[in-house]
Amino acid sequence: MSRAVPEAGGGDIGRAGYRWVVLAAGCFGSGAYAGMQMGLPAIGPALRSHFGLTVAEAGLVFASLALGVGLTVFFWGLAIDRVGERPVQVGGLAGAGIALIGAAVERIALRPMVGEPVFSATMVTVGVFIVLQVVAGDLIGLELRQVGHPWGLEQTEVAGVIVFHSDLAKLAFTATVVALLWLFLRHSRLGLAMRATAASQETALALGVPAGRMFGLAWAISGALAAVAGMLVATGGAGFSQATTLVALKALPAIVLGGLDSVPGALVGGPIIGLAEAYTKTYQDDLFPWAGDNVDQVVPYVVMLVVLLVRPYGLFGTREVERV
């Protein structure tokens, strides 16, 4: 999302030989990507057992990302008006709201799809995506909305690169949430129960794990994470509008690149896509001007296509074991 944080470097400094600048821009751009993808690995395991296949993480991909980005920015904007910027940013009132919606979506639309073909489940989430996009769009309204600069506008110069404190804060925030998520999944009873449900739904049920509730929980967590990502995307000068919901779709290449059910994959995929975009934006005029303006917006999909052709389950995704 280098576009969401245009101050981060590449844009203003120009496209001379500042390799470091481009590198930094790409990395910061990827911060938002990484934030956005965090939801996916979290619910991946649960969804895998939901439908019996890895590929069914569609749920988050289509529904909750848009839900997070679209609805969050709205609720968050409201909350900022009331409570002030900083406490809300950290407290995540919006996150709680989106988590509830995520759980509700699971209960109403996804639970009946247990045992149905993956295709059907995927399409249900596409349907949910469309519905939520309309709802979020209606709430946001037609004009561009601003959410201000909760982390201030200060900047520091590190080795010739201007670094905005807000970008550092975003990276730190993302890293903290990823760490918390990892701790939750590895070291808590609930996390263990979720992983057990993912490993074998029937065994987990036999041992007293309420599998249905785990699915709901997974969706709630993914909703909350998408909400966090939505906040990160909307902060900074860019603001947000109805079109911001489509940012969720732009994060897809990063998720798929790393592998749909892998936390390290999510952390690697983001920077790769961010860098590819930043490099394209900077050097395109010199190297391949024939590709047209804004080709950097398409580059993530091209990178994804090439990587998937070589590694069909992404860089770190779990290869599906096939049995007849």
Binding site: P117, V124, V256
Partner: protein, 371 residues
């Protein structure tokens, strides 16, 4: 076997496309109805009917690859766009603002199917490597790459906000796109001609699709869809059938894409977006996955739905026909209904409108002893 029309003594007869008198009667009625339709409604509804028929062609294509062969494709809009621009370029005015060669419909219509088919053939290897959601996302990427191409190739597409004229309907020297002519004292408007072209194209393309679906290739598609590994163990070549599915589907999409813009006479590069893909998916999901009649029902439903929604502001106070104000605009309501209907149909009636039809049929078949 006379008098016992539903007793099949051979596999061939059982698998015949119209194997009961009732089916033949319904199809006959449908065809008569479709032929009478344009002559009994307004020009606006006729144009809408033409759009529905052409969308049905595209829906059949998507149903072949997604419904029958089980390869989720969100990239249908890209192939529609490819067909639209192939047709527009080949038939366009050589002296016009956008690129054009001024060729006849007999040339551009097949070409508009063949070029997307070729591209589909090139894309298919991706589908051979990837499965399920990964494939869905790659095909989604295809839509975005396509949108970029259509936006940037201004010599061909006219660029965003400008666009270019759609394909010219010159068939073997006759100009079918002209406003109106009198035939036997009855005015044949441009809309009626478009509608009839659409009907002919649909019938010509639906029959081979039906035959494909009930032949060995169609059964292989179903095997690949239901369990690809098992299919391969039984000797069904995954590579071959995924290639066939994508190529044929893209051909249908190209033809539909070539003719759809002729209804409005104009192509806007931004129109081949994700929403269009979702519309076509909605058609096959609402109509009925992996059924030919379902594609037709779904296309008619999805195309006519917005028209019905436009009538709603009169009855529902919270819906507004203006672009702003009210709780929902009609456009938002239309989009909302696509989403809700996809979810509701998948949960409540996965076989779609076709499934509802089958249930109604079975109820009345045994009436008054149905249960």
């Amino acid at each position: 076997m006379r008098g016992r029309p539903e007793l099949f003594t051979s596999y061939r007869r059982d698998q015949a496309p119209l194997n009961t008198p009732a089916k033949r009667a319904w199809l006959g009625l449908l065809l008569v109805g479709l032929l009478v339709f344009p002559f009994s409604v307004t020009a606006e509804l006729t144009a809408l009917g033409a759009t529905a028929l052409l969308s049905a062609v595209g829906a059949i294509g998507l149903n072949l690859v997604t419904g029958y062969a089980g390869q989720v494709s969100l990239g249908h809009a890209f192939f529609l766009g490819l067909g639209a621009y192939t047709a527009a370029v080949l038939s366009g005015d050589p002296d016009g603002r956008s690129l054009g060669f001024g060729l006849d419909m007999a040339i551009w219509l097949p070409a508009a199917g063949l070029l997307p088919a070729l591209v589909g053939l090139l894309i298919a290897p991706v589908a051979i490597r990837l499965k399920g959601l990964y494939l869905a996302i790659v095909t989604l990427g295809l839509v975005f790459i396509g949108e970029h191409l259509f936006r940037e190739l201004t010599a061909v597409t006219g660029g965003p906000g400008v666009g270019r004229p759609a394909a010219q309907l010159h068939l073997l020297g006759a100009d079918l796109g002209r406003r109106s002519e009198i035939l036997g004292g009855y005015p044949i408007t441009r809309e009626i001609k478009l509608y009839l072209i659409a009907l002919v194209v649909l019938v010509v393309l639906a029959v081979p699709a039906k035959n494909l679906a009930r032949s060995a290739v169609g059964r292989a598609f179903a095997a690949v869809r239901d369990r690809d590994l098992a299919a391969e163990v039984m000797g069904v070549s995954l590579t071959r059938h995924k290639l066939i599915a994508f190529t044929i589907s893209s051909f249908y999409a190209g033809i539909a894409g070539a003719l759809l813009p002729t209804v409005t006479g104009f192509i806007e590069p931004g129109s081949f977006n994700l929403l269009l893909s979702v519309q076509f998916l909605a058609m096959i999901l609402i109509g009925g996955v992996a059924t030919l009649s379902g594609s037709l029902l779904g296309a008619a439903f999805v195309i006519l739905l917005p028209r019905l929604v436009e009538e709603l502001p009169r009855f529902l106070p919270f819906v507004t026909g203006e672009s702003t104000g009210g709780v929902l605009t009609t456009f938002q309501l239309q989009t909302l209904l696509y989403g809700v209907l996809i979810v509701v149909f998948l949960i409540a009636e996965p076989r779609g409108l076709f499934g509802i039809w089958v249930r109604a049929r079975n109820y009345w078949r045994a009436w008054p002893f149905s249960y």
